[in-house]
């Protein structure tokens, strides 16, 4: 059985006309697969490589450069919750938020809760400094957080 559904293949192929090289579809393809499967498996890497006329090693080389993409041994939970630890957020309590979250969920940064619902990450500046400390749910910013608001958010996400 193939790792990529026909629908996913079609979505990847729809990006080919945007670029003069097939290799340029690497990042869009990785995003599409990662969004849907919460990781990019070795088999998926091979199939992306086939679609883009690349060696699997080329796809893996690019993918591993961006720590963003998860491999199959550490897939993401249902949502990915990022806590910003850059200077602007740290000065206003970002580090304390991250520690609070890790303690509350009993995970380390990069880890996923036992129920598979939330993966916790630190971020190197979300670009939301006017709302520091900030967190991000998948790719949506939440500004002016504190531990109470973070607890509420976690309760929402756990539902």
């Amino acid at each position: 059985m193939s790792a990529l559904s026909d629908e996913l293949r079609k979505k990847i192929e729809s990006y080919l006309s945007r670029y003069p090289s097939k290799q340029a579809v690497t990042l869009p393809a990785l995003h599409l697969v990662h969004d849907e499967q919460r990781c990019v498996s070795r088999e998926a890497i091979k199939e992306i490589a086939d679609l883009l006329d690349l060696a699997p090693a080329e796809v893996y080389d690019s993918m591993s450069f961006y720590e963003f993409f998860r491999e199959e041994d550490a897939p993401l939970g249902k949502v990915r919750l990022w806590v910003c630890r850059s200077l602007a957020c740290s000065l206003r309590g970002g580090e304390e938020l991250l520690r609070h979250l890790c303690q509350k969920l009993a995970v380390k940064p990069g880890g996923t809760t036992a129920d598979g619902k939330i993966s916790v990450e630190f971020a190197e500046c979300l670009g939301a400094c006017e709302g520091a400390p900030a967190v991000m749910v998948d790719d949506e910013h939440k500004h002016n957080m504190n531990t109470e608001k973070l607890d509420e958010l976690v309760n929402e996400l756990k539902k």
Binding site: R18, Y19, P20, S21, Q23, A24, V25, T26, L27, P28, L30, H31, L52, D61, S62, F65, Y66, E67, F68, F69, W82, R85, S86, L87, A88, S90, L91, R92, E95, E96, L98, R99, A123, E124, C125, L126, G127, A128, C129, E130, G131, A132, M136, D138, D139, E140, H141
Partner: protein
Amino acid sequence: MPDFEPVLLRRIEKKASPWLDAYRADGGYRALEKVLSSMTPAQVVDEVKNSGLRGRGGAGFPTGVKWTFLPKDHPGPIYLCVNADESEPCTFNNRILMEEDPHQVLEGILLASYATKASTAYIYLRYEYGKSFRHLQKAIDELYSANLLGQNILGKGFNLDVYLHRGAGAYICGEETGLIESLEGKRGWPRIKPPFPAVEGAFRKPTVVNNIETLACVTHVIDRGADWLKSIGIAPDAKNPRDAGSYGPKLYCISGHVNKPCCVELPLGISVRELVDKHGGGVWKGHKAKGCIPGGISMGIMTEKEFDTPLDFNGPGKVGCLGLGTAAVTIFDDQTSIVDVLYNICRFFAHESCGQCTPCREGTGWMYKMMDRMRRGQGRLEDLQILDEVAKSIGIMPGTTICGLADGAGWPVKNAITKFRGELEDWIRKGKKSEHRSRVARMT
């Protein structure tokens, strides 16, 4: 003196709709109609050149001059890469433009593409800007429906496609050749220059890389004319024949220990003190400021005594900082330990060094380890000497790396050792008995 009337944030401050009909009702795409019906590409380049507009992304290179570096009469294709990676910590002005007024940016992209004869524009957008992604995509879709993108735009024979390309969380992809490599599907390793992108850029074709705020400025330079931009900001220093001046409005970001962190549009050349007191609501909790980073963390550190420095392209350099950078000012108060600030900055660069050049990969790691040790109270006085040596020997300026990431990693370290040596030595000698007790909680 009356407050400056915002231009780039004009519609945003009025909470105007970000979508096409409202944007056009406010005079949007007037500049595009003007160039398509009455200006040649060369005239658009000249207008931007004459305005003195300098790139807002960090380096401050004159935008129109950059465009002239493209080869003449190239058969094409020529590409425009829009740098929307905005990865410099503490910087968020591009995000506000893309989220709240995407058409202002897209009009700039259309104008720049017409001027440079680019037929495809790629917007390289950092992944963390989900709302920007959705708003830009919706705005692009509106433009295709209105024949303002695609083939034969407004019936004037001009063709342009614009594509959004999402990054994946790497600081280095804000460096223009790292961005191009990443766009091509490779790891975001900066290229050795020359060749510069204007000669050989994306897909080995001539390429212009421009920042989001720069392109928003282009919209108004064409709409209001070069003289409008030149009527704002700071004229060139008469004593410095190489100074191109600091013309136009600038989006300043204010964050950290202020009462009202915000993004504000002001003429280039405002001082940090005025930014903090007048626009940032003052230092929080009634504290005094100890210092700031003046333009993203890679520009170094300013002390409170230096807060009257004008934030134009020359100002920060006069007090030993690297430059204006992204004009993102982050204030830290007098309760903050400089050790913590430096630790945070060094941790960032060690994490974000792309690993291509050994001096940067190893040097940023060493600086981080030394700051970590110092923070835990196990620093040694000779560490300051070692830190200074490492900071001075990594980067383009000492000639040991391909890109400027390492210069930016070393600058805050060099500045801190020069400007806060007493505090650093006191902390190393006395540890937690030092009056400069470490405040930010340590991550374990």
